[in-house]
């Protein structure tokens, strides 16, 4: 497999885009990424999306987006891994370029959650869980995460309030991100007063429902070398799965699939967690942030929350996370989020992160989760020039 670089990024703001159709959202991100890469026609397109079949009655997004983006005829597929669909599309695009099937491939994540009402979106999101053993019995996807959070608090002796730093950090980092859905700092008091969604999860533990699209252009290192400007290399691309249903896992509080995915990525990049300058993690719920830090080796079991309480996850800390707002505050259009994370990691590595720029960062990780830990895709990106 040969070296791969990310040579273009594009994104729309995350918002309730009532006036923009699903396909047009995707096209905006795709065209922005192609313009950024100075590429007219990639050979392949992979679209990550979770909900359009249910909420928009639209399948075959590969062909649809290719055509409407002016790329009719190119090879194009949809890839789905629940909320990690965007990262899965990036992973397949990486495989295509690294394996030599093409020189330039495009990965786009798109989600139009407002094509259905909130109840429809909630029902559709339950498809990320086990339909027969979880959703069928009334467990919404938030409820599944609430069970994890409750158990975590019980097992390790935390209060709900202890999770505040995750939400506060995300909202703080979103404030200067023009693409964020919730660009407003929140206080600890606001976090404590937030209304319950599925106890112990409150409104400010949860990412919201929004629309958005993001895209990245991947190319062989050889192709990328011909371009000018800062070069961001894919140091690792890895994935792993776990049981979809919580009850099928040996230790629900340790995300084995995430650990496997991260370890494969570390091995491929030849690094340890300590080498990373930042980590775009999948903070769909605050509990997922804690579990991510633990499964990826940044904190011992039960100490992910402690890391946040110690202030280590802010831009001034040892391991900045969600540096442009994360899923919580940039927004979480599910099938697009995995690509947003990669786009933001590239922004940081290129020095294009604006007021949120991490000075001198060279190595970042983006990780996306499908389901409550069932499908985990990890990318490690490195600035090499």
């Amino acid at each position: 497999m040969r070296d791969v670089a990310i040579i273009g990024i594009g994104q729309t703001p995350v918002a309730e885009h009532w006036e923009i159709a699903l396909r047009d959202l995707a096209v905006q991100a795709v065209q922005a990424a192609l313009l950024d890469a100075q590429v007219e026609r990639p050979q392949m397109l992979f679209v990550g999306n979770m909900l359009s079949a249910v909420l928009s009655g639209q399948q075959n997004l590969g062909a649809l987006v290719a055509d409407h983006a002016g790329l009719r005829g190119i090879e194009a597929f949809k890839v789905e891994a629940a909320c990690a669909s965007g990262a899965a599309a990036a992973r397949i695009a990486y495989l295509a370029v690294a394996g030599g099937a093409c020189e330039v491939a495009l990965a786009c994540g798109v989600e139009k959650m407002t094509d259905g009402g909130p109840d429809e979106a909630t029902a559709a999101l339950a498809g990320a869980a086990d339909a027969e053993y979880e959703a069928e019995h009334g467990l919404s996807f938030v409820a599944i995460n609430a069970l994890l959070m409750q158990r975590y608090m019980h097992e390790y002796g935390y209060e709900h309030d202890d999770f505040a730093p995750f939400a506060i950090n995300a909202h703080q980092n979103a404030a200067a991100n023009p693409n964020a859905m919730f660009p407003r700092p929140i206080t600890r008091e606001q976090y404590l007063r937030a209304r319950p969604i599925a106890t112990p999860i409150t409104l400010l533990d949860s990412s919201g429902i929004g629309d958005g699209a993001a895209a990245v252009v991947l190319a062989s290192a050889e192709f990328a070398a011909r371009l000018g400007g800062p070069l961001v290399r894919v140091a690792a691309s890895a994935a792993a799965t776990d049981a979809v249903a919580l009850h099928d896992r040996r230790e629900p509080l340790f995300l084995q699939g995430m650990s496997d995915s991260a370890q494969r990525a570390y091995a491929q990049a030849g690094i340890t967690p300590a080498d990373l300058d930042f980590f775009e993690l999948h903070d769909a719920f605050t509990i997922m942030s804690a579990l991510s830090l633990e499964a990826c080796g940044f904190a011992p079991r039960g100490k992910g929350v402690a890391l946040a309480l110690d202030g280590e996850i802010t831009r001034q800390g040892r391991l900045p996370i969600c540096t442009l707002g994360g899923l919580k505050a940039r927004g979480h259009p599910v099938g697009a989020s995995g690509v947003y994370q990669i786009v933001e990691a590239v922004q940081q590595l290129r020095g294009q992160a604006g007021p949120n720029q991490l000075p001198g960062c060279r190595l970042g990780m983006a990780q996306s989760i499908g389901g409550s830990g069932a499908n985990v895709i990890t990318h490690i990106l490195e600035r090499v020039s």
Copy 2:
């Protein structure tokens, strides 16, 4: 890219499997394919499926099928390209192995169409069309094909009856296939008397609604060489797209995406259409058979039906098609069909096609269509030992 072989095949009968869950159907096919390949644990799994999000409320089939098939932890994704989803999964598995990402990958196509009623299935299938410009205006997927058939008859001067050989051939070939949903020969009189579905399409022009799963194990040629028995090589794997909506295409009666897909495959395999011993084409409707023969270079425009009328598509003809029943009579569980086609091509090339065996065949093509020609995936398989 290195050479890839298909070392294992598995399939369930296509039927109304009321008693078997979606996941269990997939597991049956996966385990049969792994047993056939004598492989315990492939490194990657790609699941092709179109409808489970809508009809079964289940997403993330990659992780779900991996886990239930005893493969928890491996990398696994769902790939979707409407009715070509299975072939798309096979295409990605091919890319993974050919590119060197893994030695052994598994592609599974699965569809449980009876998880919804016939009306729900029809509505869900409309997702293969353009949701805003076709489905929204009441065009079902059958109706779109009916428009094509009507135009074809008008343009080239055929009667509806002229399409009979496609249906008769498919049913004849299904008769000896134990996995076929409609293993009954039909007469020309039955074809002429069949009730209308969307004029001019009748019941016997259309594939039915059914459940099924099929799987193939792909491995590097090096890995495959260590195994005994007949070896089937992937001589070509190619894909192309076209506009999703009919009205967006320059010539609706010429499937440009299919032509592009086939030409890319011919170039990769270094062959011409005349070299092929048989063609597993996507006969979801009889009109699609005619258009396939033309777009792939077996007949001039308007002469696909003539080829069938001349008897050239039967097992005794110049280009046998749908040799084990095709989508029409083996059955068309949409996201699985593309893999069934590959499985059947391998059966022919290995000499395992039973009473339907084509003597001495060495080169076969399987082609799957997503939408009314929007996404076309072509595989050419060759027996090399």
